[in-house]
Point group: C2
């Protein structure tokens, strides 16, 4: 009856067992049997057999035939970061609720890796690809386009496909303003007391830096050229930038605008081994939200990008017929220090 170490049952096995043809079995199992005018009793027989023999569809075969796979891809720069991991979590929920299978991979912010990854995913006939924070979105587009793969950019925009991104300018404006206002009028911040760290030459960083400049200039009157220290998206490079500045000035500035939580880890590395008092006067604004980061011993104002809204919008767009590429801005949210917000995990049920 049951086949222990045997291979998995196929429609051909069930065909023999049921006395029906493989095509009938197939129709019954994939739900198209009414359309094919299969008798109810036949269907029941086959479904019973399928159950008993633990039949499961070979999705590679189906995918080959249909040239779709039911897989939906999410390409991240990295996993190990709360912004991107919450993206993955949210994405999974959406894909699952559509009855498809989420596949999350990271491409390390490497344009070459991004293209290779896209190619691999295409080879598996994934149905859609969500490209998050790609270094070279248009390069990926060039891979997806000829393959007829629907794709959309998230977090960093491309010119060849729709993009859903944070309103980085507005977010950085809010954040810069909040940092400055945090000092009040008694002891206002001077231009050389607020620095920006992190980011590289991508759209998000450029927007944020522009907003930083403009807002700083508007509110504290000036912004010296050395106020921005690009240090990539690397904790260690950021650490070295802090060390260099500290070396130069003999102290840290009173206020920091940190371009991402990854760069913020550079600050942590700078803090490690140094006395806590050294940071007691510090005020930090961080473009990204991390619940633990929000409770550091000094005020950390954060910007939470609206991941849920971005993913939702992306799903809306990706199904639409292709039009000329547009970029959609999603306004992020300013988060006051010491805030523990709900996240995608909160929708999961849990038992104590």
């Amino acid at each position: 009856m049951d086949q222990r170490v045997k291979k998995k049952a196929t429609i051909y096995d069930l065909s023999v067992l049921s006395g029906s043809s493989p095509s009938t079995v197939s129709a019954v199992l994939n739900g198209t049997w009414r359309k094919r005018r299969i008798k109810e009793s036949t269907a029941e027989t086959i479904l019973g057999l399928a159950e008993r023999h633990q039949y499961t569809t070979n999705l590679q075969a189906r995918g080959l035939r249909r040239s779709r796979s039911g897989l939906v891809g999410l390409m991240l720069p990295v996993h190990d970061n709360r912004y991107f991991s919450s993206m993955a979590q949210t994405f999974e929920g959406h894909v699952r609720s559509r009855g498809q299978c989420p596949v999350v991979v990271s491409a390390s912010r490497d344009p070459e890796e991004e293209r290779r990854t896209a190619e691999t995913l295409i080879s598996y006939s994934i149905d859609q690809l969500f490209i998050v924070g790609a270094t070279d979105p248009d390069g990926v587009h060039e891979i997806c386009e000829p393959a007829g793969l629907k794709h959309i950019n998230i977090d960093l925009p491309g010119a060849k496909a729709h993009s859903v991104i944070s309103d980085n300018y507005e977010g950085a404006r809010m954040l810069t303003e909040a940092i400055i206002r945090h000092f009040g009028n008694d002891d206002p911040l001077r231009p050389d007391e607020l620095f920006l760290f992190g980011g590289r030459n991508d759209h998000a960083s450029r927007e944020r830096i522009a907003a930083f400049h403009a807002t700083k200039k508007a509110l504290v009157g000036a912004d010296p050229d050395d106020g921005v220290q690009s240090s990539g998206y690397s904790p260690d490079i950021t650490l070295r930038a802090f060390e260099a500045l500290y070396q130069r000035d003999g102290k840290l500035p009173r206020a920091l605008f940190i371009n991402s939580s990854i760069n913020m880890e550079g600050l942590l590395r700078f803090m490690a081994g140094r006395p806590a008092e050294m940071f007691s006067e510090l005020v930090v604004g961080c473009y990204d939200y991390d619940p633990f980061g929000s409770f550091l011993p000094f005020p950390v104002i954060m910007v939470r990008q609206n991941v849920e809204a971005m993913i939702t919008k992306a799903f809306e767009l990706i199904d639409e017929p292709t039009t000329t590429p547009q970029t959609f801005l999603i306004t992020p949210e300013l988060i006051q220090p010491r805030s523990a917000l709900k996240g995608p995990l909160d929708t999961l049920k849990d038992v104590a």
Copy 2:
């Protein structure tokens, strides 16, 4: 020459173009052509054509034929957590270096979802499955086994397949001891001043709770029954547990053992809106490492599970012929407060 919107080139297309048979083309493209005694010049011709026409292998077709896919699966409870996201990051590195394609999915700590997910992955003929923190590892095993899918448990052990897990007892022992010793002899901790929060009825929690009990009893002399508050792996349930305790005692205990970083987020929620001073005397031990968590305004001693070692060991084991299931313990590391450790992201190259 090039086919714009056309479908992707197949070996049949190249077969026509090159004048060779499909099987020859196939052999050339998958590298087995020397074994098949294909002339070098023939191979070159075909490779040239493949290049020119942007041929890429249809991996679903290959997978169907070979009944393997080149996909390696990682099943996580959730993405949005530094422990699991670092697991994903590390895993990806390993899989990539083996020339395969990582697929990361989460199953929400739901036994049913875990089994469904495994089944889906099997339907895609994934080659191996790494099962992380599964609620019901043996249930997943029952799915993998008949399908002939190599699998291994990580983080939470199963009885039916090899498991690689943290030495939870030792980790919790170290952590409990470190918490207690943190108070020194001047003002030693009393039994009713140290509570454990979080966890559920799984192997890891049981071990940790056992070590907590034993160590606490050994070092502070006793451990009242109410010293352990299971609150699942949910921030909100943990929050409510804190609130209940606070309600009861009118204050927080001086020391907390928190079972995971997810539960730690429950503490953050408790902190939100309450004055920082309320926590100035608190000492926390957290079983999990989160770089931001390490720098909270009170001492947070953390346990970092050795993800790299666990993944490495798991890869070693999964290739070996199946023997009787064994559990391998990987010793975690005690992390002093205010430590910013390197993680899997540090191996990535970055540009400023």
